[in-house]
Assembly symmetry: C2
Homo-oligomer: 422 residues x 2
Amino acid sequence: MSVATRSVTDVCAAARRAARAVATSTAEVRNGAVVAMADLLEQRADEILAANERDVEAGRESGLTDALIDRLTLTRERIDGIARDARAIAALPDPVGETLEERRLDNGLDLQKVRVPLGVVAVVYEARPNVTIDCSALCVKSGNAIVLRGSSSAEHSNAILADVAADAVASVGLPAEVVSIVSGGSRDELAELATQDELLDLIIPRGGAGLKRALTEHATVPVLYAADGNCHVFVDATANIEDAVEIVVNAKVQRPGVCNAAETLLVHADIASGFLPRALARLQQEGVELRVDCRARSAAGPLDGLLDATAEDWGTEFLALVLAVAVVDSVDEAIDHVNRYGSGHSEAILTGSDESAGRFTAEVDAACLYVNASTRFTDGAEFGLGAEIGNSTQKLHARGPFGLRELGSYKYVLRGDGQVRP
Amino acid sequence: MSVATRSVTDVCAAARRAARAVATSTAEVRNGAVVAMADLLEQRADEILAANERDVEAGRESGLTDALIDRLTLTRERIDGIARDARAIAALPDPVGETLEERRLDNGLDLQKVRVPLGVVAVVYEARPNVTIDCSALCVKSGNAIVLRGSSSAEHSNAILADVAADAVASVGLPAEVVSIVSGGSRDELAELATQDELLDLIIPRGGAGLKRALTEHATVPVLYAADGNCHVFVDATANIEDAVEIVVNAKVQRPGVCNAAETLLVHADIASGFLPRALARLQQEGVELRVDCRARSAAGPLDGLLDATAEDWGTEFLALVLAVAVVDSVDEAIDHVNRYGSGHSEAILTGSDESAGRFTAEVDAACLYVNASTRFTDGAEFGLGAEIGNSTQKLHARGPFGLRELGSYKYVLRGDGQVRP
């Protein structure tokens, strides 16, 4: 693809023209395009691996960390995994055209509220090349055109993967421009992308705080910020201690690097001396570094190795085997703490009291509230929604898992027999 | 109220603190606050009229047009009307806490998706002081705090109306800061408001293109742009001519100054000579200025006073008794014209063909698509949704009438009995 020779605006304009074709195509055609992505990935694996090798070598030369090199690297197994994920997306129920409401109005018009594709979605992402196919598959499945903007460190990998996706789309008779890519070059190009409000319907950034800042400053296109997750587990006075230990360990340890892992444990004072010695010992066994306030320390009993929590810890998403621990005097105090420091992602209360559960779920301002369960369930697949393109902590449009149906808008269709407004 | 002494940030921070109280209050309390607004409006009518008189006098001195003076002016009847509207809002069904989805997940968690208030909504508006109460009532009813920013030309009227709304809120035991107002001064203050993304959840501008531009440039808070309406009526080859004449006249004439009035008439070539002579004669009788393309002119027969449409007319929202008229050769051509020039608001096809209706409603990208009915029905009340705060042509969050339920987000509440993620 002669990516470099086309301006960002040209690419977006072509995507906009292609969007109508994919928006009005049948589910069969769109699913066929996504399955073809999987087939072509497998057929062109050697070519993809060769392109990826160029990026990996360049990355090594420029001194990328091992972790970033790992995120950048494709293997035959990883390509097979991406293909498998694409086939799973193709097999999901069709989100386009679902009737969300239907009723006859007093004036005799038959109103139908129908889900429709957003139009053109831009995805801005960092090293991982698998995002190129994952997001293309989700967008095409949901009837959208997609404009990809990866990082320059994955330039060759992304270019060939986008080419694969565009070829797949063309193979079912849709315009190839349903999937396109702009070069991952400069911040100027990012600003150009972020201001295409006539041509783009949404930008989804998948990356760190720097990317977020760069977009916030410039974007006139609506942006869905993927979530930071500073998640809490609150162990209320009436919690079942055995269950609570298991849930806290799961929320922190099962996969500490993801946004729905717990970062702070809050414990009601009335249960602290019964709960904390066991819970903290288990967490230490699992390799968790504990940063505790003074009340948690005194309730913890004779445990070694507890660190003092600093003020900063309460607002930090560790994304690691680190947990901040505080004792609170009431459900109210727990709610205040979570609303003050939380990022509005996933928050859990462990309690035997319906009243406490009701207050916590009503008054904590977050996308997902858990009662007696781990925060780790916030996920499109776990929610029965299929794959997700991100997790929203915003309140507009979509909150929580952002999947196929959230990649849609709706329209009202009103059928009459000559109605005029009196 | 000592408005001038508090910074925009201070006002927004106070609104944010007050938001939790109104979000978690009962429907009874919120409805009581809205009814109290109506009561206080009536009780303090003299005071309100006196403040309004100061604005009107200042407006006359500064040379405001008669139309703007009219929009600015309050009378006892208008105050009664505003109070009546507030009581109607109080009587609408409660949008807060509605269960949008409910199911048991495979892992045994009971998932509930529940509508919750957005939080803090800012409304930026121009001359009309009634907006102060209308929007306060809608926001409080829907569990939100509101920050108002009116224009300096209505400063005294808005200040006392906001005071009335805040007093009403306080009279039911909610924090008065649920309703607050910032002075309508400079564009700097507007920019300060538009960048309070830590404190505000949404900005709703109600004003012209200048306001829109000023916000687009600065806003980091999500903005809901109220719609321009460049609406079309397409008369297909198989339309019922009698019905079509009535619908076109209604869409253009019934209230030409609003966003869901028709601005362009498209007519299929096969019906043009049967339809246009009657339709255009009727429209002329109703005082409509007709700007026609050459094919419409030749199909129109011996009518005087037809003007030639210019290229600019197709993209113009006249908001007046002016209609552009063109002949097209097919449904496809009509769809292309509407997608090219339309603003995505309300678009109608008049046809006897289910196939044409299906194609038009599927392929035209707009909030509201009508089959054999006037575009004038796009309205929250007509849709059975109650009052609306605006009409969205955006695709994210809400499209079409933006009423009480669109002033909400949602949260997921998941209840378990000890679930951990394997």
